[in-house]
């Protein structure tokens, strides 16, 4: 779809270069603006009384003592709030059969998870609000808690929503080819495994938070929030609080980590907006760390029974699995909690040629905190299931794990094609990436070294993963199902009088470097030094309409919109310049902030001179020339549901068989995210993602007891990866630009988190195999490994 000549046909100063992010200087001087940094006149502070019972009928809430406490301005219960909020239901029409129940910001009548907000205190300080929260007495008649997802559908298990016949939220089967016949073949080896993936959560270092301000004179709500999708939230507040959509302004300034955590409708945040509306005063809510563990969405928590059949040549004859996942008592609004299971169905085995594929998933309700989309949605499960089955099968038939991949990966020249589940695939490079990986990690030498070390009682292992990664989603992801989630994004670029350029974009910045890559693109495409580019993101009032940053779409979609807008502005400016200079647009160019002769590059006039002429001395221009010096372009992916990327990774671990401890010694990733706009930022995305993936593989788990109580809701007990245990990570790139855009960029944010867990699991099993042990449960804790070894 590219035009005759693009930015990639000429020298560039910024795209592809490791340009430092301008934002870092501000943040390194303590000049960021995160939610809790915002102080407004007359601002109040919220705290919530949260349920301590996983399932029960609320028979009474006594707030009298709390209300009487000096400094308390308002106390709301679910009943107080209900008349002001339209309930929300987390379903999407394209996930056929998905059901959930209406939700309110604070529980009304029945509480369904420990941590659910029951009452809200608004006070002069957070400390006083917490004092008051401690004075609220809640009476709950406990009901039996449904906590085990594997028995949630048993007839004897109570149903969480009385209006439903069971705890089933959604179910889907993908069935391609003749799976049963393939498994029945007498020339195949069948490997079966049960995989368990623990619940984990995002642990953004800045907890969720918001400041809401309401101006009754204008009926306007302004909502500063730490989040990824301002326009989506604008719709939600307008609809559910009964405001005209244009009267809701949502602002995301600095966001202290998000990873998919801060892109959902949380009752405490809706209640904060409502309290501001009811009181006519700004209200701040910043979750404390315990609230964060209890109420930020969780993810994963799947049990998968998988099996694979391979023939003697190592070719996959069939892959099949049953997945069950428990999502908490509701499907989150508006993205729903069925997407992760749906991704598992869609993505498992997608790197490979698999003709016979059956995947079945059940999504069930339970009385735990809700689950939803967190970084690399579904990928860790899908990739681990396929690649752990594949590596286990390779060992069964005595084949090397690299060789079995060579025999099954979709050939690099086979695109466009589709995956076993029917996903359209294009511009992928599994084989090239795998071969680059094998060379980078010195695969054969390491294998030999491991064999030698085993003689000394040192157990090391290598594990690989070949994966696809969902990026740049089209409207087929959410919009088609009725969600208020834009898949297109826009960029507006303006030439200011001083010759500087201002970019305003609907994608958001959470630290990935969105603002930096927008500046790189604008600077190169329009033709100014990057220091002359200013970028605004994260404000529904001032940016074009769009989806925000999630599903690794900021660079690919937001970046392409920016490229096109910059190109359009350039054409405009050259048209004006041609008139002023009595030349032709085709004979001129813009370089380094000046209009120059396209041939030879001699400077003709600075952009500042041009802009000042247009803005101040329009009398010098012909009357029929009406320059705007501003251009807006929007972009969406049209040819594919997603633009897939691919990555090949490997982990090297050492397992201590006496203690069950696993150390990740080395990690390598070869990523193909198409055009690399800024290699430093891409490498950082991959490395940070890998470390999150290692967290899921070895450390992180939300541990619940049978009553639905989260046992480790502190940072001392929920083990995130810290610096000492993490390895250095080697990152390499293969660049296969997507043909869906001029920019050619795909996303890079999910691969590490999506692929590392499977690679680490394969590596651990490679190390354990000589000891006659195996493990298919994440996180692979020392205790679980000791159990696998029969030591405890």
């Amino acid at each position: 779809m590219s035009g005759p000549l693009t930015i990639f046909d000429r020298p560039r100063d910024y795209i592809g270069q490791p340009v430092p992010r301008a934002d870092t200087k501000r943040l390194l001087q303590g000049r960021g603006t995160f939610i809790d940094d915002i102080q407004l006149p007359r601002m109040l502070h919220a705290a919530f009384v949260r349920s301590s019972v996983a399932h029960g009928v609320i028979t009474g809430i006594d707030v009298a003592e709390a209300r009487a406490l000096p400094g308390v301005v308002a106390v709301y219960t679910g009943a107080d709030i209900a008349p002001h909020v339209e309930p929300y239901v987390g379903v999407l029409s394209h996930l056929a059969g998905l059901r959930s129940a209406p939700q309110m910001p604070l529980a009304v009548g029945v509480t369904r998870w420990i941590g659910e907000p029951l009452a809200m205190i608004v006070a002069q300080s957070r400390a006083v609000a917490e004092d008051a929260a401690a004075l609220v007495t809640v009476e709950i008649d406990p009901l039996e808690a449904v906590t085990d997802m594997e028995t949630a559908l048993d007839p004897a298990t109570p149903v969480i929503h009385a209006e439903m016949d069971s705890n089933l939220a959604w179910e889907r089967t993908v069935d391609v080819g003749d799976v049963d016949a393939a498994f029945a073949r007498d020339d195949v080896t069948v490997v079966e495994r049960r995989f368990r993936f623990g619940r984990h959560t995002g642990v953004t270092l800045e907890t969720r938070g918001a400041v809401a301000a309401y101006d009754p004179s204008e009926d306007e709500l302004t909502f500063w929030y730490s989040g990824q999708a301002p326009h989506m939230m604008q719709f939600i507040f307008a609809k559910h609080l009964g405001l005209p959509e244009e009267n809701v302004r949502v602002v995301s300034q600095d966001v202290g980590g998000s990873f998919g955590i801060k892109i959902h409708t949380y009752g405490d945040e809706v209640a904060t907006a409502l309290a501001a509306k009811l009181l006519g005063r700004p209200v701040k809510f910043v979750a404390d760390r315990m609230e964060s563990f209890l109420s930020d969405i969780h993810a994963r928590d799947h049990v998968v029974d998988g099996r694979i059949a391979v023939d003697a040549e190592g070719r996959v004859a069939a892959l099949a699995f049953d997945d069950i996942t428990g999502i908490g008592p509701f499907s989150m609004y508006p993205r729903t909690s069925a997407i992760e299971a749906n991704q598992v169905l869609n993505l498992t085995g997608a790197p490979y040629v698999i003709g016979n594929y059956r995947a079945h998933a059940k999504v069930v309700f339970q009385n735990k905190n809700m689950m939803c989309q967190y970084r690399a949605v579904g990928h860790p499960i899908a990739m681990a299931v396929a690649d752990c089955l594949l590596e286990d099968a390779a060992h069964e038939i005595g084949m090397d794990v690299v060789e079995i991949r060579r025999r099954n990966l979709i050939p690099d020249d086979a695109y466009p094609t589709q995956s076993a589940s029917g996903m359209k695939l294009d511009d992928l490079s599994h084989h090239k990436s795998l071969e680059t990986l094998v060379e980078t990690m010195d695969y054969d030498a390491r294998r030999a070294e491991h064999a030698k070390l085993r003689e000394d009682g040192i157990y090391r292992g290598l594990g690989l993963i070949s994966m696809v990664e969902v990026t740049n989603p089209s409207p087929m992801f959410y919009g088609i199902g009725g969600a208020p989630i834009a898949s297109q994004d826009g960029a507006t670029i303006r030439l200011d009088a001083g010759g500087g350029v201002h970019v305003s974009s609907s994608v958001t910045e959470q630290g990935q470097g969105t603002n930096a890559i927008l500046a790189q693109i604008a600077a190169d495409v329009f033709g100014v030094p990057i220091a002359r580019v200013k970028v605004t993101t994260g404000d529904t009032r001032t940016t074009p309409y769009g989806g925000g940053t999630w599903a690794s779409r900021g660079a690919g979609i937001g970046g392409e919109a920016c490229l096109q807008a910059a190109q359009a502005l350039k054409e405009q400016v050259l048209e004006v310049a041609a008139v002023i200079l009595q030349s032709a647009p085709g004979k001129l160019d813009i370089r380094a902030g000046a209009v120059v002769d396209a041939e030879g590059g001699a400077e003709r006039m600075t952009l500042s001179d041009l802009a000042r002429t247009v803005y101040y001395r329009g009398n010098e221009l012909p009357a029929d020339l009406k320059p705007e010096l501003v251009a807006t372009r929007h972009y969406r992916v049209t040819d594919f549901p997603f633009v897939f990327t691919n990555c090949a990774m490997a982990a090297e671990v050492e397992v201590d068989p006496e203690t069950g401890f696993v150390q990740v010694l080395n990690f390598w990733a070869v990523e193909d995210c198409g055009r690399v706009i800024n290699p430093v930022l891409v490498d950082e995305q991959v490395r940070g993602g890998v470390v999150q993936g290692i967290g899921g593989a070895l450390y992180e788990e939300c541990i619940y007891d049978a009553e639905g109580q989260l046992q480790n809701a502190t940072m001392a007990d929920y083990l995130v990866p810290m610096a000492f245990e993490m390895p250095d990570i080697v990152v390499k790139h293969v660049e296969t630009p997507t043909k869906t855009s001029v920019l050619g960029a795909k996303g890079a944010g999910e691969a590490g988190t999506g692929g590392a867990p499977g690679a680490v699991m394969n590596a651990v099993n490679d190390a354990l195999r000589p000891l006659g042990a195996e493990i298919h449960q994440m996180p692979m804790t020392p205790e679980r490994i000791l159990r696998a070894l029969g030591k405890v």
Binding site: Q29, T33, F34
Partner: protein, 159 residues
């Protein structure tokens, strides 16, 4: 009624007297009363390290001290470092290595890295990782932070 005390302390070179609730922790005081919001609150139980600041020359968790305990103390925050120029090499290295993404851990990470560098720490990746092991970063994977600290110790950075 909340119990209060008068304290006198010096923050980033500026001395003042303040009345504080005795239950207010030091980082809340610095952020909310002094407006120095560069120090961040991440967990309020001393684990994440985001609120790490310098008190009387020592690296401490701002959430594990009450402001009243800081009576008479000299405190330096990330803003003070920027104003005085101290730590300039680390800041330059953090930018060059992109050793921060969202920036929320950065005040504590910078303070902890400075404690290591000024304490004469070696350019030994394991030792650096050990010293940083009480500071949580969800974004970077830590490698770029270790790189930045090594660059400073080995003199590869012009401040």
């Amino acid at each position: 009624m909340a119990q209060t005390r008068m304290i006198r302390l010096t923050v980033n070179g500026e001395t003042g007297s303040y009345t504080v609730p005795v239950r207010q922790n030091l980082v809340d005081f610095i952020r909310n009363d002094l407006g120095l919001t560069g120090s961040h609150v991440g967990c309020e139980h001393g684990v994440c390290g985001a609120c790490s600041i310098e008190v009387n020359g020592d690296l401490v968790r701002g959430c594990l001290m009450f402001a009243v305990q800081a009576d008479g103390a000299e405190i330096t925050t990330i803003e003070g470092l920027a104003e005085s120029g101290r730590g300039a090499a680390l800041r330059a290295a953090f930018t060059a290595r992109n050793a921060l993404q969202c920036g929320y851990c950065t005040p504590g990470m910078l303070a902890t890295a400075l404690d290591y560098v000024e304490g004469g720490g070696a350019a030994d990746r394991d030792a650096i990782r050990a010293h940083l092991s009480g500071n949580y970063c969800r974004c970077t994977g830590y490698q770029s932070i270790v790189d930045a600290v090594c660059d400073v110790i080995e003199g590869r950075v012009e401040a």
